[in-house]
Structures are given as structure tokens and as C-alpha cells.
């Protein structure tokens, strides 16, 4: 579970720190920096999982416009079964040469070293924190990304796996494809590869499919089941619908043919049930988009029940009254900033009257 994120000199995040719980709702005005937090986590994952170049992931344009410094730093504190993992990444930008490099990258467990990459030199440590090999490495990428799992680096490998399993999502149903070239254990940012991810879940975690099918039958009128149909080298995801009593033979439609709201609901419940007990942290930007009003609270209840109980952590961004009123009071964090000022986590708006819902107060802008 991600306990803390720190960022400095990244877009509007200047000396910025935020703590997360099992379920966190980020609220606040447009332009406050909520999605920037998600972008950053997505980029850190990209760097560590895809072995991407620093220059590609953190271009100079991501430096804070009004901070005249060329160093960026990021920290993640992640709670795992062995303790608290602390990852730190410092990037140096050279505006004259238009180059970026990793100045420092380290991973600690409860304050003791597991890995260090400093000014081009990598120091590895064993699981018991005893020093291991030392070697020089390319500053333009993350050295941690290149460490392969071994019997004596299980703790470091756990952290890398946690990063790999980060889902940072802003669902775009119109772009979701029904075609799957291969299984994928990761759902990409806009959820467009859902068919491939579903294919993975149905192959590797078949036990979850029965429950998911039942849930979707309860949620989506007429839903019967999914089907993956072979089409040359690809598979096409089909969604079967039947009449209300499930007495007629189902008619199957391409996943792309069903409505935007149905696609989003399918993804939202698939996340809850498909990721159960798999250790993922999920960041969801405005999950309620496209979902009918009547379906929001039941999903929130299911999410609330799941978080910490098989579903380690969810962080949501929303402006929707249903989310604000259901979760805001206990799980809410208020994120905002002054124009050309840094993003800050502010105290939640103080309630001015017991009859006024938090969402209504937010709607009126009575947050200060």
C-alpha cells in the first residue's frame, strides 16, 4: 500500500507531500494538481517497469515553471509485508545540453539499504542488507528497472512487483477495443486493452470469472456472459445479453458495440473482483464518468467493503456528489493551489451547517 508520495519541482508539485489510506478520495477544484499526482505515479511506473529513458519520461517541460532549479526529486513510501519500503529518485536536468540523468536512486526497507544508484555507480544489497556487487551504470535510465529477480533480492523484487502492479486509470470507453492480440496482466491508462486484461484474468484466475459474471448479471440488465471469439490471430471480446428471465438464448455483441456506461461498469466491477487478493493498488480518475446515477453508490459500497479486505488500496479523484457525500467525510483529501502556486493538501472544508451536504458546500464554492 502506498503510504506517502513526495515530489519536488514537478509541474505544480513543489515540496509536495500526500499520505494515502486504504481508500482515499482526492477532491478539489480544477487545476489543483490531483491528476498531476496520478500522472507522476504513472510515469514512475513507466520508468521502473518499461525501462524507459529518463529524458522520455521526465522531459524538461515537466520542471516547475516558476522554480529556477534543475533537480527534481520523488519519494514513495510503500508498506509491504516485510516493512516500509522507501524509494527515492533524484533527476538532474541540464538545460544547456538538453539532457537528463539519474542523480540518485535508492530503495530502503525500514531505513536499511536494498539498492543504491548514485552518480553512475550501483550498489546492490542482499535481503539482509549486507553489501553486494558494485558496478557502473548508464545514468540515462533507472538502474533499479534492470535488476533481475534472484534468491537474495526478494525484498527488492517485491517492491518492483508492487510498482508493476500499479493501475493508474482514467477510463475512456469510446477507445476501448474488443480485439485482443494477447493476454495482458496490466490494464493501460485509459482501459483500452480491457479485452486483453480480461483474457488474462479468465486464463490465470478463472475462479474470479464466475463471481464477476454473477455480479454483472445483477448489475447490468440482460447481461449474460463474456465470450472470447477467435478471429485469425486475435480474439474478439463479445458480451452476451438475454431477456430479463435469462430464458432466451443470449445474443452476443462486440464489446465495442455496447454502451459507454456499460463498458465502464464492466471495467469497474472487473477491477474489484478480478484484482481481489492480487495485491494491486488502483488509482482511478473520475470512475463515475459515464455511469448512471443509480449505479454509483452500489459500486462505492462494494469498493468500500473491498478496500483493505482483499483489495489493498484505491485512490479516487472525483467531483461527483455521490462520491463526495459517501466518501468525502472519512476518506477525503482536499487538493488545491493558488494560480501559479504549488499544489497543497488542505484541510477538508469545514462544515458550515449540519444540513448542508459536503457536495452542496463544494458546489457553492464555500470551501474556505
Amino acid at each position: 500500500m502506498l503510504k506517502r508520495l513526495y515530489a519536488n519541482n514537478y509541474r505544480s508539485l513543489v515540496n509536495f507531500e500526500v499520505n494515502f489510506n486504504e481508500l482515499t478520495l482526492l477532491m478539489g477544484p480544477n487545476g489543483g494538481g490531483k491528476s498531476t499526482i496520478f500522472d507522476l505515479l504513472y510515469k514512475i511506473r513507466h520508468l521502473l517497469v518499461d525501462n524507459a529513458k529518463i529524458s522520455e519520461v521526465f522531459p524538461p517541460g515537466d520542471l516547475t515553471a516558476w522554480v529556477n532549479k534543475t533537480e527534481q526529486s520523488f519519494e514513495l513510501d510503500v508498506e509491504g509485508k516485510d516493512g516500509l519500503f522507501s524509494y527515492k529518485l533524484v533527476i538532474a536536468h541540464n538545460p544547456d545540453l538538453k539532457k537528463q540523468r539519474v542523480e540518485l536512486e535508492h530503495l530502503l526497507l525500514d531505513g536499511k539499504p536494498l539498492f543504491e544508484f548514485k552518480q553512475g555507480d550501483v550498489k546492490l544489497y542482499h535481503d539482509d542488507h549486507e553489501p553486494g556487487p558494485v558496478y557502473s551504470f548508464d545514468w540515462s535510465v533507472s538502474a533499479l528497472a534492470t535488476i533481475v529477480p534472484r534468491s537474495d533480492n526478494k525484498k527488492l523484487t517485491w517492491f518492483k512487483k508492487w510498482v508493476e502492479m500499479l493501475f493508474v486509470l482514467s477510463l475512456q470507453p469510446k477507445a476501448m477495443s474488443s480485439e485482443s492480440a494477447e493476454e495482458s496482466d496490466w490494464l493501460n491508462r485509459d482501459g483500452t486493452n480491457f479485452a486483453s486484461w480480461y483474457r488474462y484474468i479468465s486464463q490465470e484466475h478463472q475462479d474470479k470469472i464466475f463471481q464477476l459474471t454473477q455480479q454483472l448479471r445483477d448489475t447490468i440488465p440482460g447481461f449474460h456472459a463474456f465470450k472470447l471469439e477467435q478471429a485469425g490471430k486475435h480474439k474478439i471480446m463479445k458480451v452476451g445479453f438475454t431477456d430479463e428471465e435469462q430464458s432466451s438464448s443470449p445474443i452476443y455483441f462486440d464489446f465495442e458495440q455496447i454502451s459507454d456506461g456499460q463498458r465502464v461498469l464492466i471495467v469497474l466491477y472487473s477491477l474489484l473482483l478480478g484484482l481481489k487478493d492480487l495485491g494491486h493498488t488502483v488509482f482511478l480518475d473520475e470512475p463515475e464518468n459515464y455511469v448512471s446515477l443509480a449505479e454509483i453508490q452500489p459500486w462505492l459500497m462494494a469498493l468500500n467493503d473491498a478496500c483493505g479486505d482483499g483489495f489493498p488500496q484505491a485512490v479516487l479523484i472525483s467531483h461527483h456528489p455521490e462520491l463526495i457525500d459517501y466518501l468525502g467525510q472519512e476518506c477525503g483529501k482536499w487538493i488545491e493551489r493558488e494560480p501559479l502556486g504549488p499544489t497543497r493538501v488542505k484541510k477538508m472544508p469545514e462544515q458550515i451547517d449540519e444540513d448542508l451536504k459536503l457536495s452542496e458546500q463544494v458546489a457553492r464554492g464555500w470551501t474556505k
Binding site: 486504504e22 443509480a294 453508490q297 452500489p298 449540519e354 459536503l358
Partner: protein, 184 residues
């Protein structure tokens, strides 16, 4: 399943009351999708007042909906230092003030009044000796009430509550049985 249609509206003070009651209803066979939770905007002292003030409006809405579909209304409010009957009487008074007739015997409108509060029930159902005057510690996580709820559901479905059960819990079980289970 067709489009979601709520059958029970749950008015409550906070998320712990919600977690307990919702899980109980689910245990008794209600589908989450049939429930609508309306909890106080504030979990502080005024939450009980919010539930009380909201009650007459929900009662009116319940009566309008009832002819179209079997529905129910459940309100949860902590007794704190008061008696269960006093709290129920307060609902009656606020209904009178708002010129909404109070619930009739044949209406699926239940009022649960945990005394002293919901933690009293939870700790009792977890096997602890409790009294209804002491304030017991809150759970670290609301979902940790599940074992207590499971126990309550089991008792409700089999032997019923033991004689040493808090009287407010026994009263709430009667409310559920007579007003929700029997009338919806």
C-alpha cells in the same frame, strides 16, 4: 436483474452504523442494490439531529412510493445517554412539528436505537460483557464489525438473541422482524 430499484432507504449517523446495518441486511438476504444509504453529512454531535430532521421527509417519500412497490425505511440513531423510547418519541415529535403523521403499525418503517451506541452492540456480539451506559471504543476499521454482524445474523436466523443481550439490540431486532421482514 433489471434496472436497480431501491427498496430500503437507510438513514444513519455515520459509516459505522452504515457498515453494521448494511452488512446485517445483506446477511438477512437483502441485495446491496436494493439499499440506499443516506448518512449524515457530519459524523459529529449533530449527526443524530440530522437523522431525526430527515426522518419525516423520508417517511413522506416512503408513503408515496409504497403503493408502487414494496419499500421500507430504516433509521439508526444512537441513544447516547437517553432511553430507546425517548429517542423514538423524538422522531414522533419532529414528525408532528412537520405535520407528517408518525409511522403506523402496518408501515415498514423501523427505528434502531443502539444504546449507548453501535459499538455497544458490536462488542456484545463479539462476546464481550457490556452495559448500555458505558461508551465503548470505536473499531479501528468499520469493516471489522463483520464478525459481530455474522453472529447477529446467525442468531436472528436460529435461536434469537440470548437473554443477556442489550435491550436496545433486542428492540431493534423486533423492529426489523415486525416492520421490515414481515411487511416488505
Amino acid at each position: 436483474m433489471s434496472i436497480r430499484r431501491v427498496r430500503i432507504v437507510l438513514l444513519c449517523e455515520d459509516s459505522q452504523q452504515e457498515a453494521f446495518t448494511r452488512r446485517f441486511l445483506e446477511g438477512m438476504g437483502w441485495d446491496t442494490r436494493e439499499l440506499r444509504v443516506e448518512k449524515s453529512p457530519s459524523a459529529k454531535g449533530s449527526a443524530e439531529q440530522w437523522v431525526r430532521e430527515r426522518f419525516p421527509n423520508e417517511l413522506k417519500v416512503y408513503r408515496q412510493r409504497k403503493p408502487k412497490a414494496a419499500s421500507g425505511l430504516i433509521a439508526l440513531i444512537d441513544a447516547d445517554a437517553k432511553e430507546v423510547q425517548d429517542r423514538i418519541h423524538e422522531f414522533k415529535e419532529v414528525c408532528q412539528t412537520k405535520t407528517v403523521p408518525f409511522r403506523e403499525d402496518n408501515e415498514a418503517v423501523a427505528i434502531g436505537v443502539p444504546k449507548r451506541n453501535i459499538e455497544t452492540w458490536i462488542h456484545y456480539l463479539n462476546g464481550r460483557q457490556v452495559n448500555e451506559t458505558e461508551a465503548y471504543e470505536k473499531l479501528e476499521r468499520q469493516r471489522f464489525c463483520q464478525p459481530a454482524v455474522t453472529n447477529l445474523v446467525k442468531l436472528c436466523k436460529t435461536t434469537g438473541l440470548a437473554k443477556d443481550a442489550p435491550s436496545s439490540l433486542a428492540a431493534a431486532c423486533d423492529e426489523y422482524r415486525n416492520r421490515i421482514e414481515s411487511l416488505i
